[in-house]
Symmetry: C2
Subunit: 217 residues, 2 copies
């Protein structure tokens, strides 16, 4: 892999207003900004480029997909991990510390995010489907239990797995999807944790680049 090749990331040039600031290319941009690694984007218009257009790079027709030299990846979690392995500031080299970061990467994506996704399905994506409204309180309660456990694990620590790492990029990004709703409010340490992540200059640069790639309408 020519490490000096410029990475290329797929992203959207248009999505509806709501998901702007949340599409998953942002997670990868954040990691790239933490690394100080320049990259270019290849953009799709959600209105005109169907999932089929994106399928050659991403089997589920989503963004982001990633290329650097002869390496191609999809799934923002995989891309973030692969990149972080190239920067000890994002993935420690000490084996015990690395194991902690790996654990929290998967916790964010396989133990926290599915509960958020379930709530999003019944309140947003499929909120108009039969049973959705009635099931929402159950989904909210499941999520709240999980957030309570996460809040206890974070405790008064600044970051989730020791010093700041790629696990925080993913966990903060996952929690950001709860937006300004009241789901996080019972857990002030999680609210502060998300704010700490969002305050990082690298996150701010990534968000600005993510937003700048959208055309107005």
């Amino acid at each position: 892999m020519p490490d000096n090749a410029t990475p290329e990331l797929t992203a959207f040039s248009w999505v509806p207003p709501m998901p702007r600031g949340l599409v998953r290319d942002l997670r990868v941009r954040w990691v790239l900004e933490e690394m100080g690694q320049p990259y270019r984007t290849r953009l799709f218009d959600h209105r005109t480029d169907g999932a089929e257009t994106r399928r050659p790079d991403q089997p589920f027709g989503q963004v982001p997909a990633f290329r650097q030299g002869d390496v191609a990846l999809f799934e923002s979690g995989a891309i973030c991990l692969w990149l972080a392995e190239r920067d000890p500031a994002l993935m420690p080299q000490d084996e015990a510390a690395r194991a902690r970061v790996l654990s929290w990467i998967f916790a964010a994506l396989n133990s926290v995010e599915p509960n958020i996704l379930m709530l999003q399905y019944v309140t947003l994506f499929d909120g108009d489907k039969p049973g959705a409204t009635e099931f929402a309180p159950t989904a909210r309660s499941r999520l709240s239990d999980r957030l309570g456990q996460l809040s206890e694990a974070l405790c008064e620590n600044e970051w989730i797995a020791g010093p700041f790492s790629v696990a925080d990029v993913l966990m903060v990004s996952v929690l950001r999807q709860l937006g300004r709703g009241d789901n996080l409010d019972p857990f002030p340490n999680l609210v502060a944790y998300v704010a700490r992540g969002e305050a990082r200059p690298a996150f701010q640069r990534a968000l600005a680049a993510h937003m700048a790639d959208f055309v107005e309408d």
Copy 2:
């Protein structure tokens, strides 16, 4: 990390009959068996050992948690990846091939499993809650779309990311949760894929050890 230390895995000595054969320690046992790596288990009884008992090892009170020497991990995905990195038969060393395997690991856990989990919530875990039955067809349809994309990606290939790898351990384990239900039936290549995984001697040994650790009732 003393690589010759015997790994220790947490698992259950009792769960109700239904999840037997599906609890996530099985995923890690499968990887360990593929590696020919002996291990020991530390068992909890689901009836008497509450989540608090398991919390020191696993922040969500689940199994498995894993220790080898001074390395501790939780999240079956993290444990399987960490172990696979020690065996080129499970994680290729060529960077482009490794990137493919990483992508499919995260696809299994972050793009396929959440859709299965949503269906399990509305049909099993929370099947008696308001709206669950009415929402089930929507969850089934979302899952079916995702399985269709996975089926196209697998195509006529034997394994999901090139030669057999840890990505197959995770993807087959994720799909096995659909059990004998009819959700996989429209995708004969996925049915055959799961059967291929289950036919591996290492899977059979792992399943036998997983089942043998359960007390009768």
